[in-house]
Symmetry: C2
Subunit: 196 residues, 2 copies
């Protein structure tokens, strides 16, 4: 095996026109979540990854800063969960890792973060986290979510991050269920199953 | 802000010749850890990121599969911790996210993983995790490590991943202390401090 020194990933080609077609201003948490859910749904339809979507928006102005979908199977990177993709693309747009320098930014994700994405949130500089489906919804669809601390919401709040869960939960969970019914790949690393 | 659709990071130019100069076969855990520590030390010296290094090796043959150093400040990506860099470069080399397909691979890191990197380990397909310094050593150097579940080692073991901590701990912790004495940047996102 050759040592690699460079790593990259990109959004599938359908995402940019999809965002251009989105008409509704991202002025409320519900609209932002509906966009994230629509991205997750289209990601299933286009077969470009797992059933998870996320957006980074300015929580005050509703400006869209970045969008992400799960790209694990298509990018070949296990970190390419929707949240990590959206945060990394927001940082790429900003040109630095600390998103707090770009205003009060919000990560809106179709599912409660897995153990990895939970840990990634405070390092990114976002000010709030909005989640749709719950851990048990993802587990019902066959995904392993990893183990977060029991007090994970409080852990984020202690770092100044506002957290709101179960926003449009039923709609977000329905996308996970659809993926399972469609026989979508549950990518896992032998030992247990794997998600987002 | 323009929406970005592509994200990438690369190892600094010094890493490849540094690895070529490394003579000792990676036949034991101690030698692997010494290489990871040497990478962390050189990352400080070259001012290319934080004081953390990691390697991915075949645990049976000692073949080097990937190397990583902390690149948060230089890549502008908060996820670019040494462990994530090494795992992602190993997956890039293999051409797929599931490292278990490339033999029994081992992640050797100079510090116990932060909350994010802990969560990332099971999704990668590695079979074992070897850590040098402990969480409190990184905290003493000023880094926030995030909150892992109390039973984080057991959480990995339940997923079939062997964990060994405190390998060359004193040497690994000394690199963290050196970074602090040198006045190295503690990159943090306003709310608390940030690591690896």
């Amino acid at each position: 095996m050759m040592i690699s020194s460079h790593c990259s990933f990109g959004l599938p080609g359908w995402v940019e026109p999809f965002l251009e077609d989105w008409q509704e201003p991202l002025s409320t948490i519900s609209v932002r979540m509906r966009l994230a859910i629509a991205l997750a749904q289209e990601n299933i339809h286009q077969k470009t990854g797992g059933p998870f979507g996320a957006v980074v928006v300015n929580e005050q102005t509703g400006e869209l800063v970045a969008a992400g979908v799960n790209l694990v199977t298509t990018s070949g990177l296990s970190v390419a969960h929707a949240e990590i993709v959206a945060l990394s693309l927001a940082q790429t747009a900003l040109g630095e890792w600390n998103l707090s320098h770009a205003g009060p930014l919000q990560l809106v994700t179709t599912c409660e973060p897995c153990a990895m994405c939970f840990g990634a949130v405070p390092w990114s500089g976002v000010k709030s986290l909005i989640c749709g489906a719950r851990k048990k919804d993802a587990e019902s669809a066959g995904f392993d979510e990893g183990d977060k601390p029991d007090q994970w919401v409080r852990s984020l709040q202690r770092r100044g991050i506002v957290v709101q869960c179960s926003v449009l939960r039923a709609e977000a969970a329905a996308v996970l269920a659809l993926y399972r019914e469609d026989g979508g790949a549950i990518y896992n690393a032998d030992h247990g199953q794997h998600k987002d």
